[in-house]
Amino acid sequence: MNAINRNEQQALARAVLEIDVNNHAGVMSHVVGLFSRRAYNVEGILCLPVGDGQRSRIWLLVNEDTRLPQMIKQVEKLEDVIAIRRHHADHAVFSELKAFFQP
């Protein structure tokens, strides 16, 4: 399998979620808990404060799954989640970090 094909397959099999949240202790736990209780693996997590630090942005790399629409609805219901957006797996946020994740 050549590299292009591998990327294509990844693009098909993965999704990137961008989640705006309030920035305080426990919020990450609320979000990832929704995945772990369903035995739904989160492949990648990135989180940093945004602006004055009142809010954070969580980026999740997850596998495409028939349960993903339900997961997004469940995340939306969390009190500390302000917004959630779904992107394709080729979103730059994770691909540009590759250098930090060499074996």
Binding site: A25, G26, H30, G33, R37, Q70, E76, K77, E79
Partner: protein
């Protein structure tokens, strides 16, 4: 005016300002400042449970009977873990609860301090939301917010964990926040309602499927009005029983695993299912692929995550069901729907729900019938979990929303007695009957002491078959009759146990005139245990075997 108050006093004052008049709980070291402040309140009465789980279910009973947010309290560590089952139960049945727990002082959090447990972490998956309060000032924001969250949208439990030093620290208060109230939901989209109305108006065999959301939303009368206007035969989930009187001509009673055969067969034939405040629970649907196989689906629910979760809806409407139904009603045309109503009538005649031995007052159905006939619709009915629960769901003529208190989603044995006490506290003018079993009652029997202390008007009807009836039934039917751990060898003397715990008790087994004794016990104000032995071989029928389609019911 500036007041200097500590966090505990602020907490109690905010509860008073919320309109809370009863809290139930159990004290301990980490919540003692709040108990100290609570003891000074002239407005709030504290009901001391005998186990934190009892406190959680007493609060649930109050919330289920009244529809208002109820409050329970516990200390840190074991106090908090004991509350968790009642909180999880509230989550699954969408019951508005605010649970307040004490926590070790902030500086000791994470040190494995005495009676420290990660209450916040433990409660994340079983609450609608939770808070670990990090400063006394924050209480002014968190407590009203907790009530707002518990009551808004799909109701649910909210936990507030308050470290002891946050309770003890004093601050100056110049202004109090407004009490937290239910936020109104966004209105249903008009075009979706119009499409739904068109589907109802053109359907040949529509069915209305009511869930607990109809009760929570106060939409029962609207649902009945809609059913009557368009002649929609109506099924109810366990949680919705009483939303439409179960003996209403359009009612098909409870659907699903232990629903009437005619009810499940009607669902098989319908061409339109109008799901209102229901969530397609597996006990209701049976094998999902075979549930209403020929039907289009309209699904109205306040929780958008319920739409398309189990079954994809043709029209999904996120709305408060009261608001949606009130606007849907004028769009739906009156329709006598004679062919379909006739078909329902003939299904009922051909596949009736049978109540064996109902004319014998000491049989399981006979007891339920005798009690129902002696009481009126003002009485509330609580149950524990097991065979007795399903028999009452099948046979008790529930006619009023909030008349029925049962643990549906979590199916928690031990729910009945404390929930009945809570209902009696919330509505002291009513008689509350609690049907229970010999397995369930032992899981919270200590609350009989609470019932006695409070003089709660609860009649606990103990249907004793010395067996874990539903386990026994499944082992008999599906595990080659290999009965294991489902028959009790040692049995307490429940009548003497109840008396020892401080309430009146009557044994129908030995009464000279059992019916007269039953009536006397029901009529006497205050708590009473009514004990009756029943036959361990009786099954809950009909029954959909686990994993099977509803049409493949067995028995009766």
């Amino acid at each position: 005016m500036t007041e200097t108050l500590n966090g505990a006093q602020i907490t109690v004052r905010l509860l008073e300002r919320q309109g809370i008049r009863i809290v139930t709980g159990y004290p301990g070291g980490a919540i003692l400042p709040i108990y100290d402040a609570l003891g000074q309140s002239t407005v709030i009465r504290h009901v001391l449970a005998r186990h934190e789980q009892g406190a959680g279910f007493i609060a649930q009973g109050m919330a289920r009977a009244s529809g208002e947010v109820a409050v329970c309290m516990a200390s840190s560590g074991p106090g908090a873990t004991n509350l968790l089952t009642a909180i999880a139960d509230a989550k699954l049945d969408s019951i508005p609860l605010v649970a307040i727990t004490g926590q070790v002082p902030k500086a000791m959090i994470g040190t494995d301090a005495f009676q420290e447990v990660d209450t916040y972490g433990l409660s994340i998956p079983i609450t609608k939301h939770n808070f670990l309060v990090s400063s006394t000032e924050e209480l002014l924001e968190v407590i009203p917010r907790a009530f707002e969250i518990a009551a808004s949208g799909r109701p649910g439990p909210v936990l507030i964990d308050i470290p002891k030093d946050v309770q003890a620290r004093s601050i100056e208060i110049t202004q109090w926040p407004e009490p937290g109230q239910c936020r109104p939901a966004a209105p249903a989209p008009a075009d979706a309602l119009q499409q739904a109305a068109t589907m109802i108006n053109t359907a040949a065999r529509p069915l209305l499927y009511l869930g607990g959301g109809v009760v929570h939303s106060g939409a029962s009368a609207l649902a009945v009005e809609l059913a009557e206007k368009a002649n929609l035969p109506t099924v109810m989930t366990l949680m919705a029983l009483g939303a439409m009187p179960v003996d209403h001509p359009l009612s098909l009673g409870m659907l699903g695993m232990h629903g009437a055969r005619y009810c499940n067969l009607a669902l098989d034939e319908c061409d339109l299912l109008i799901a209102v405040g229901a969530r397609f629970d597996d006990r209701a649907t049976g094998k999902v692929a075979a549930f209403c196989p020929n039907a289009q689906i309209i699904h109205i629910d306040i929780d958008p995550a319920e739409l398309d979760k189990i079954k994809t809806a043709h029209i999904g409407i996120t709305a408060d069901v009261s608001e949606a139904l009130s606007r849907l009603l004028p769009m739906v045309s009156a329709n006598s729907r004679e062919i379909w109503v006739d078909r329902i009538r003939s299904l009922k005649a051909e596949f009736p729900q049978v109540f064996p031995d109902a004319d014998r007052p000491l049989s399981h159905f006979g007891l339920i019938r005798e009690i129902a006939e002696h009481l009126d619709d003002d009485a509330s009915v609580a149950t524990d979990v097991g065979q007795h629960q399903m028999w009452v769901a099948q046979a008790y003529p529930l006619r009023r929303p909030r008349q029925w208190l049962t643990s549906g989603g979590l199916g928690t044995m031990g729910f009945g007695v404390p929930a009945a006490i809570g209902a009696a506290l919330a509505e002291p003018q009513r008689t509350v009957v609690c049907f229970t079993g010999d397995g369930s009652i032992l899981m919270n029997i200590q609350e009989l002491v609470t019932a006695g202390e409070e003089g709660a008007n609860v009649k606990i009807v103990l249907m004793n078959n010395a067996t874990l009836g539903l386990v026994h039934q499944q082992q008999t039917l599906f595990y080659g009759e290999r009965l294991f751990a489902s028959q009790f060898k040692a049995m307490p003397d429940f009548v003497r146990a109840a008396q020892a715990l401080g309430i009146a008790a009557v044994d129908l087994d030995t009464a000279a005139d059992p019916v007269a004794s039953l009536h006397a016990a029901l009529d006497q104000p205050g708590p009473c245990l009514i004990h009756a032995s029943i036959d361990a071989e009786q099954k809950v029928y009909p029954m959909v075997p686990p994993g099977a389609a509803n049409r493949d019911m067995i028995g009766a």
